[in-house]
Structures are given as C-alpha cells and as structure tokens.
Point group: C3
Chain length 158, copies 3
C-alpha cells in the first residue's frame, strides 16, 4: 500500500472514530483525538468567512477540551440526547511537514430521549491533522456550521 | 492492488449494492446479499445495548429473508413508499477466518408516493461479512436504529 | 498506486469538488466541471424510468451551463439560500474508452438566509465521466430526484 493511501485511510479512520466517540456518548475519550497544543472551534459560516475566531464552543488546548467534558458531565445529570453523524467523502488538500489539511461535509441528526429525531446541523469540518506519528490526531478542527440558528442545546461537541 | 485494499473496496461495493437494491425496490434480490446461514435483525440502540436479540424484523436464515420478501409482495399491493440510503464511511474493525467485521452509519430518508420526503431513520449497520469467496455476502447484519420511535410502516428492510 | 485506484480517487475528488463549488456559492466555476459537449439534467425518478429526457433543468452543452449561471446571477440579486450536499460512496460501474460510469446517492439540505435548515432533496447522480485527461470532467450528469414534489425555488443546480 502506498504512503499516500495509508495516510488517506488513516485520516478516514480518525474521522470515523471521532464521530463514533461522540455518537456513542464516550465523551471522556474525546480529548484523546487531539494533540496537546490544539484548537477546536464550533462556529458558523458567516463568522468564519469574516475571519472571526470565536464560536459557540472554543478550546485552545487539550486541557480546555478535558475541562469541557468534565463540566459537561456535571451539567448533564442524565443523557439528554444523542447525535448521529453522517459524513461525506473527505477531501485531502495536501500534506506539509507531517500536517494534512482535510475537509469533510457532515450532517448531524439529533435523537432526543423521547425518540424524536430531527436534522440538527449541517456543515463542514476543516481539519489540520498530525499524520507524522502512529496515531493520527487533530491539530485543529474547525466545525463550520451552515446556519447561525443553532439550537442553544448545543452542549455536546460536534 | 493490495489484498487489504481489495477487501475494503469489495465491502464498499457490497454495502452500496445492498442499498441500491432496496432503494430501487428490487426486493426479490435482497436475500442474495446473505449467506444461507445468516442473521438479519432490525433493532434499536437500547435493546441492542441491553443484549436483547429481538427486533422489529428478525430473520435467522436466508429462507426467512425469502419468506419475508414473499409476504411483503402479498401485503403491498402497490408501491407504498421508497427509501433513499446515504451511508457514511465504513470502518473495518478486522478480518478473522475470512469474516470481516464492519460498521457504517446511515441515514434513511423516506419518500412517500405523494412525493413527501422525510428523515425516516438513522443508525448503524453492524456487519459480519464473508469475504472468503468471489462474491462477498453478509453473515450477519444488525441494523441498530438510534430511536425506538420507529414508524410502524417499517415493513421494507433497511 | 494502481491505475484503477487513481481513477477511483480522481472521480471521488471530482464529485467532492463539484459539491463544494455549489455549496460555497462559486457558481461561475460550475460549468468548468463539464466537457464542451456535455449533458446536464435534473429530473425525477418516474420521468427517468419512463425514459423521458426533459427535467427541471436541462442543458445540452457547456454553453448552456454558462448561460444558466449568467441568468441566475441576474435573477438572484442577493444570495437566496445555500445547499449542503452529503454524498454516499460512489459506485463505479465500469470504464470504457476513457469514460467511467458512476452512481452516487446524495442528500441536499437547504439553508435559508434566515438560518432555517431543511431536508431539500434526495436522489442519485448518474454520471458519465471523461477520465482520459489530467483533469476529470463530466460528459453527462443526470440528477435523478426521488420526489417529483420539488420546491419551485430550485434555481441553483444540484
């Protein structure tokens, strides 16, 4: 198998494992998908295009991701809802100095505790991924939502 | 092309052909995607996690799949509705003794005869696939729905 | 990397770049995804199965695609809405004389200017793709919608 292909499959696996981690409510493992010095941001298209660097959720280090999960566990006494991610094919724009740049469209469906299912959010993952080691990890994951009208129930990462 | 890659592409083709078979209403061909001694189960996440082995549809052999399709044809005098499956990337967890274990997220949209379109179901395919022969086939396909609140109109397999 | 695989990845890239072009509202670039002597048609399943060759949008040459985009720009004084495409895996049915035949399921979600998000359309891309040159292009793209009940707001290509 060529190196190119191994990187492609590795990135695919990282993205799928990430979605599973959230969809299966194993949030404690979520920070492990990132390097120490990382950035995670959920924003919307207009803010992103305007170059703004704030968002609904913003974490500038792995420590902040861990804090996020810990406080989530305190707030959510019981499982509020679940997501189901379906992602389209991943475009890999290039690999430079062991960092791959990738983009992936996604749909996130929300399943309430009552069983009610609805289209929750759509958008793109804009990722920078460390592919130099054995286990690939996100250096940066920007979740750019298509709509600003996001439910305030957005407490779980996407 | 490496063996690994050939298996990966073959599994992908099996899953896509399966979805097409259902979406194009060629249900008579549906049992052909399974080995003789197979298991097909549509269940929900909570039942699955509780280890329950029943579900909305349960078939423990290819013969039961054939029966299912035959009785469906008797009940459905005309085409009631259609599905459109969109699946995310497939994770292949491993291959042991010619059996691959794979997982795939899906969204199924339902299109009524009137043209009305709605999000019908989301969930995961948990598959065990015989990859030892020329044509890959399901040994087991568990369709784990995210919601228990499934429309009773679920008569067509997913 | 084998030739087969290179064609597969190239087709995947073409389809993803096409979806991005529309979703990011860069419609001026849209005709560049087609060869000069091309065909682009948005139709519905029943018309397609009946062998009808008309549709909501029909273009029989690249020139017609350019005209379409130009008139669109005149009609749409401001951005009316956006789409988000999520596509499933692409089935490649074969390659003959440098033309690949491919099929891909899709979901298109529409995001209104107000932020309102809804399931807009589902269906299949039935493609014939020129894979003989360095840059792959569509010879024919049939967009077969699952429902006839398509919003008359369909002015942007899918």
């Amino acid at each position: 198998m060529s190196d190119d292909l191994a990187v492609r499959l590795g990135i695919q696996e990282l993205l799928s494992a990430y979605a599973d981690c959230i969809d299966e409510d194993r949030l404690k493992e979520w920070p492990e998908f990132f390097v120490e010095d990382c950035r995670y941001l959920i924003t919307d298209r207009e803010s992103h295009e305007a170059g703004l660097r704030h968002g609904v959720i913003y974490c500038a280090s792995k420590g902040m991701l861990v804090d996020r999960v810990t406080s989530l566990r305190r707030v959510l006494m019981f499982e509020a809802h679940r997501y189901r991610h379906v992602t389209g094919p991943t475009r890999i724009l290039g690999v430079t100095d062991g960092i791959a740049e990738a983009r992936t469209n996604f749909i996130a469906v929300r399943i309430m505790h009552s069983g009610e299912t609805s289209l929750f959010a759509t958008g793109r993952y804009l990722d920078r991924i460390d592919v130099s080691g054995d286990r690939f990890r996100f250096v940066e994951r920007l979740v750019v939502l298509d709509s600003q009208k996001i439910d305030t129930l957005l407490v779980i990462p996407l």
